[in-house]
């Protein structure tokens, strides 16, 4: 979330799309109802189904799954053509006025630079045009045909209400009614907040759907504003934290990135990531990348990391593929290219697409290690459970180790919620039997490996033998020790320009502004610096006071970065530093104090006066929000609608007859998985998966109370479809894709209605995902038997939300 849960109450309009927070985040959703009741806000939901969120919405639309860019792209066109944008904001705080290179273009559904053989783009032309002064050229009148604003207008001019309607299945009147309500938020003192979840992420165009939302919010002037923002309602309790800590194939902590194999030189690696301002005088905070990087390496390697060896640059693995994501890994695993795999609190047999392929892949491993508090399906993938897991153990040679871990109630530590709050928690009781915390398991395992390298030698032992390990009990690093380590400390005395000591050697750092690129500081995750200072554990703060009445409780826990609760909050004030509206006052420039002040920690240099002309989006080299994504996305600088890889509609109505532009042209799909895609004639029904409020993934079927209130697997089918295939509520149905099938009880409902897509009637099938073959609920079929093995072009997040099936009586 750019904003936070309580801040939703400050919204004037709430757009819930790609998520169903009343069902999946019920307690967070109370701030939506708070906004409706006390801020006279309106809630609009756009979803394929009539959801619990939709049930309390003032307005709603039913959209064909996977067509969100069509709706939002049309909205962008509407905002521009009717001139309902927050003009001062757009002109100054976005890149609308910047000029794009003349060789950038878009034709027949493809951006310039497409190479069909690699399914990728040469992104060279996707850039602003630089002037002779070394900075980006601009046109303040927004009339130059090569400025971002005009290119944006041209790109979305194709997204007419009729076109949007024929793609999405939403009637034209509904589209126009909702666009009009959203456009009313373009005035400076009104804001819309956008709430989304995996209903946007899990598409082959998922990242671009979210970008389209961000572009809408920039045009409306809603980023950095209380009651505004683009708010990802994330899934797991610490999914934000593990992302922040960089536990993803290409990342290092704090959104730093690993080098690829071509980046052999340390200096070139750093220089590419140090973003210098491309508009004069801007902050461009990534210019400090080397300070973050060197501090990480000092944290990991201590004395062994020094300037002479480039801070151990070569000790970090380098990437030979763009991503070693889970789809890539299970593709390789299914071909026998992996020997070992660890699942720490992760249940891939249930969670990864194309379950048959996942089973095949796991069965080809030599060893599998499962660390979990619960008996997961993955740990028993080799065990026969009849039709629920039809395998022959004697044919599976994988050695499986199952290690019992603590759950939340049994260890100390912090987790990061969707709003970026690091909240510390305390252990209430010891774990059952001989279960252990993950920190201890990782500690002991590492020490055992290190001992083997000491005893036997081995390949490239340097990073293993030199890894800092100064924990009091080496086999059991304590949460406090690890938290202090990722916060960071001074390794030598730090001094200011006059030579005064500002931080003693050994002291905890108070913020990442103290980090240096010369080895005097260590910090394991720079964006968390400030969470455990010399004043102690800030994550344990529990003061819920709200002095400005904005819902901003700075004394409760600690939020990254630097305890800021709304990102880009400088944008909540106009060019002169005054709030855009009295009811939207959040931070502002106080001339007497010569500082930015207000309800939040300014996301801006505190003493930089408005007259200095620094712009709010300090992480961008231009200082402004990007309507044009430049080279940051792999599949285009402007989002474009492409059909899901499995779609009930045979072509992309924006590009009829253009086969290359039917699905995302830059999305990766392996040959075997393309073969496994179903044809609309055979699998005519649009399917989507989702959660229920009583359950959390595959965990709560192990908890009695949840198993009692929602005991049995079902699928949701509209009355019209039920009539067509001759079933009534309570019948068993078989749902098949080209990859597998499940059987479940049919819930026949008015909540799903057929849609007209062109001249075709499309039915949706709703598939809740919570059942499996372990736990105390009734046994069920893992629904990923159905889902396709293809992901978003940028993130490789699988397309769980849009695929096709056939439903029939079981």
């Amino acid at each position: 979330m750019t904003n936070h849960w309580v801040d939703i109450r400050n919204a004037n309009l709430i757009l819930s799309m790609g998520g169903n927070s009343a069902e999946a985040h019920p307690v967070g959703f109370r701030w939506v109802t708070e906004a409706i009741e006390h801020n006279h806000a309106e809630l609009i939901t756009i979803d394929p189904r009539f959801t619990r969120t939709g049930a309390v919405a003032q307005d709603k639309a039913f959209i064909r799954t996977g067509t969100d860019i069509a709706f939002l792209g049309g909205l962008i066109s509407y905002l521009i053509e009717t001139d309902q944008i927050q003009r001062e904001y757009v002109l100054n705080y976005t890149d609308a006025a910047l000029i794009v290179r003349p060789d950038y273009g878009f034709e027949d559904g493809l951006f310039s630079g497409y190479d069909e053989s690699t399914r990728s783009y040469d992104k060279q032309s996707w850039m602003y045009e630089m002037g002779d002064d070394g900075f980006v050229r601009r046109d303040e009148s927004l009339s130059d045909p090569r400025c971002v604003y005009q290119l944006l207008r041209e790109h979305y001019s194709r997204y007419t209400p009729d076109m949007v309607s024929s793609i999405s299945g939403i009637p034209v009147e509904t589209i126009q009614r909702i666009w009009k309500k959203i456009a009313a938020m373009a005035v400076p003192d009104k804001t819309m907040t956008i709430l989304y979840a995996l209903g946007w992420t899990q598409h082959s165009i998922g990242s671009q759907i979210i970008r389209t939302a961000a572009m809408v919010q920039l045009l409306l002037g809603n980023m950095g504003m209380p009651g505004g923002g683009v708010n990802a309602l994330r899934g797991h309790s610490n999914i934000q934290g593990l992302t922040d800590l960089g536990l993803l194939s290409q990342l290092l902590p704090g959104y730093m990135t690993l080098a690829n194999a071509k980046e052999q030189e340390y200096r070139a690696y750093i220089d590419k990531r140090i973003k210098q301002p491309t508009v004069e005088g801007q902050v461009s905070y990534w210019k400090n990348y080397e300070k973050f990087h060197v501090s990480l390496m000092k944290s990991w390697f201590g004395e062994a990391a020094n300037e002479g060896n480039n801070w151990c640059f070569d000790w970090l693995p380098k990437l030979e593929r763009p991503l070693y994501d889970i789809l890539d890994t299970f593709e390789r695993m299914s071909k026998g290219e992996l020997n070992g795999y660890f699942c720490q609190g992760f249940n891939p047999l249930a969670s990864f697409p194309d379950r048959a392929k996942v089973t095949r892949a796991l069965a080809s491993l030599k060893y599998l290690v499962v660390m979990d508090p619960l008996n997961t399906e993955t740990s028993e993938f080799w065990k026969n459970y009849g039709e629920y897991n039809d395998v022959d153990p004697s044919q599976i040679d994988t050695e499986v180790f199952r290690l019992p871990t603590c759950c939340f109630a049994e260890d100390d530590g912090s987790i990061v919620n969707s709003a970026r709050w690091l909240q510390w928690h305390w252990a209430a009781a010891p774990p059952p039997g001989d279960a252990r915390p993950d920190t201890r398991i990782m500690g002991e395992l590492f020490l055992k490996l290190k001992q083997l390298y000491l005893d036997e030698g081995g390949v490239f032992p340097d990073p293993i033998l030199n890894l800092t390990w100064d924990y009091k009990i080496p086999a059991e690093p304590k949460a406090e020790e690890l938290a202090r380590e990722y916060n960071g400390r001074a390794l030598e005395d730090l001094t200011d320009e006059q030579g005064n000591v500002t931080r003693r050697a050994g002291d905890q750092l108070a913020g990442f502004a103290e980090l240096t690129n010369d080895g005097r500081t260590a910090a394991g995750c720079w964006i968390f610096t400030g969470c455990w200072t010399e004043d102690g554990n800030q994550m344990a703060n529990r003061d819920n006071s709200d002095p400005y009445g904005t819902g901003n409780t700075l004394g409760w826990a600690w939020a990254w970065p630097m305890n800021r609760r709304i990102l880009y909050n400088r944008a909540s004030a106009d060019l002169q530093g005054r709030p855009w509206g009295a009811n939207k006052a959040f931070i502002w420039w106080d001339g007497k104090q010569g500082a930015w002040v207000g309800a939040d920690v300014p996301d801006f240099p505190t003493n930089s006066p408005p007259s200095q002309g620094q712009m709010p989006f300090i992480m961008q080299p231009e200082g402004v929000g990007h309507l044009f994504a430049g080279q940051s996305m792999v599949d285009g600088p402007f989002p474009e609608h492409y059909e899901p890889f499995e779609s009930p509609v045979p072509q992309n109505l924006l590009h009829p007859g253009k086969e290359k532009a039917r699905n995302n042209p830059a999305a990766r799909i392996f040959d075997e998985d393309r073969e496994a895609l179903g044809k609309p004639e055979e699998f005519p029904h649009a399917a989507t998966t989702y959660r229920l409020t009583e359950h959390f993934h595959f965990w709560t079927k192990h908890a009695e109370l949840n198993a009692i209130v929602q005991p049995q697997q079902f699928v949701e089918i509209g009355e019209a479809l039920a009539g067509e295939i001759g079933i009534v509520a309570g019948d068993w149905v078989k749902v098949s894709s080209n990859r597998g099938f499940i059987k479940a009880v049919a819930v026949v409902t008015k909540r799903l209605r057929p849609m007209m897509i062109g001249d075709k009637q499309v039915h949706h099938v709703g598939i809740p995902l919570h059942w499996g073959f372990t736990g105390v609920a009734k046994k069920g079929y893992l629904v990923n038997a159905l889902t396709p093995f293809v992901g978003d072009a940028n993130t490789q997040t699988p397309e769980y939300k849009s695929f096709t099936v056939r439903v029939e009586k079981a």
Binding site: V6, H25, P26, V27, G28, W31, E34, S237, N238, I239, L242, L247, P253, L258, A261, K262, P317, L319, Y324, L338, Y341, C343, Q344, F346, V369, P373, P393, T398, P404, T405, C407, F408, A409, D411, G413, S414, I415, A428, A429, G433, A435, R436, T439, I441, G458, V459, F460, P463, P477, L482, E485, T693, H695, F696, H702, A703, E704, N706, V776, Q796
Partner: protein, 197 residues
Amino acid sequence: MAINVTRRQFFKLGGAGLASSSLAMMGFAPEPAEASIRQFKLTHAKETRNTCTYCSVGCGILIYSKGDGSKNVEQNVFHIEGDPDHPVSRGSLCPKGAGLLDFVHSKGRLAYPQVREAGSDEWKRISWDEALGRIARHMKDDRDANFVQRNAQGQTVNHWTTTGFLAASGSSNEAGYITHKVVRNLGMVAFDNQARV
């Protein structure tokens, strides 16, 4: 001014966003009711602040456990409820959070390290030392055999692609941090958490 209100109604009022403490000051306190028996039970419990383990709203919870802290007495969790001071959740829990106690005491909780040998149809209980020793052996054998220092183009890559790791976004930052520190520095790149899916 005395207003009759049950304990349940009182909590409901608090949950609607009114500060229950100021209500109490006005003499607006709940009538003693059946629930006071539970209150009595809670008085003798150890109260521990924690955060719900399910979704990312991050609702505050209070865990109540029995045991007086003596060396030979193990704490046992017997009640979990919402933390009324929490600025987001204000004491509320959803149907998932309301069942947290059953997660803690689930029959599906694992208590001992186990191994399923190749081709076998059953689990076998083993010691931690044996489990971690065998796993470390597998890792070292695989790493030594397949670690790539230089690729076909002669570029230094120093990576290990034949063992992969999925980390847990239900675990704490501290577990995440040490996992990253160990896994990355063994050279692993096939490394993701639930944020990937």
